[in-house]
Symmetry: C2
Subunit: 146 residues, 2 copies
Amino acid sequence: MTTSTDRDQQIQKLRELIADIDSGMLTTVDDNGSLHSCPMSTNGQITSDGVLWFFIYGSSHKATEIEHNQQVNVSFVSPDRQRYISVSGTAQLVKDRNKMQEQWKPQLQTWFPKGLDEPDIALLKVTMDKADYWDGQSSFKPQTIS
Amino acid sequence: MTTSTDRDQQIQKLRELIADIDSGMLTTVDDNGSLHSCPMSTNGQITSDGVLWFFIYGSSHKATEIEHNQQVNVSFVSPDRQRYISVSGTAQLVKDRNKMQEQWKPQLQTWFPKGLDEPDIALLKVTMDKADYWDGQSSFKPQTIS
Ligand SMILES: Cc1cc2nc3c(=O)[nH]c(=O)nc-3n(C[C@H](O)[C@H](O)[C@H](O)COP(=O)(O)O)c2cc1C
């Protein structure tokens, strides 16, 4: 059994692993069942309850896919360090202005030139169900957090 | 309309983009619909008809997932160059010894210490249905190959 303290420590470990990785690859499933990935800027953070936050255009193709199928994967890769992380999660669009203010980072301006004044801006909340990570060349089998 | 020559050129472009990326993240869907990724060594190659080959253990969890759901995604990331590639494809296990001999690379020994003498070794053939790539910081919208 995983006690809550174990899980806290594991999420802490995950946070360290992704801390300096700028973008994750978000994989979503479309209505035909095919899988697409796209890069999404992270703020290198995962909350203590296992949530990743992204900014997204509410009317984008990706957002529509997620409304139809909430199961997603976010992978983080740091090839130099042979670090590979898979976060399986459930995604949800959130249009909470306060939360946006809290999560906003200036470097997101590249993707959202109008910043929080962008009318179509939304948050994508990914709640981790399970994570696997491979850290360093020697790790054939992943470490798993669930 | 995409003519076959266009497609040839696009696949050539894709080949250049992934040539020096050692591993891709393979995302598969399990029976509950949740999405998992894991790193897979590539030989940096995609054939002219859009096929990626990987080596896999035939009895692995991943292989079973693929037997149940053939839709997969392989993403390639080179953070230094801001290069992000998504290949949506259909996967299939192939146990053809000649093909294995053709695809084998010595560096795969890390994952398959017995090499081609490993009884459980199999090939995973991913046939590209669609690819998207982002090459360089400025590209918000991907280039698409289908
Ligand atoms: C490094 C990088 C980071 C990105 N970060 C984001 C992001 O945080 N939010 C976002 O909506 N799009 C981001 N994009 C663009 C998306 O990957 C995607 O191309 C865009 O959202 C269009 O998606 P759509 O095809 O679903 O409409 C980023 C692209 C790159 C290359």
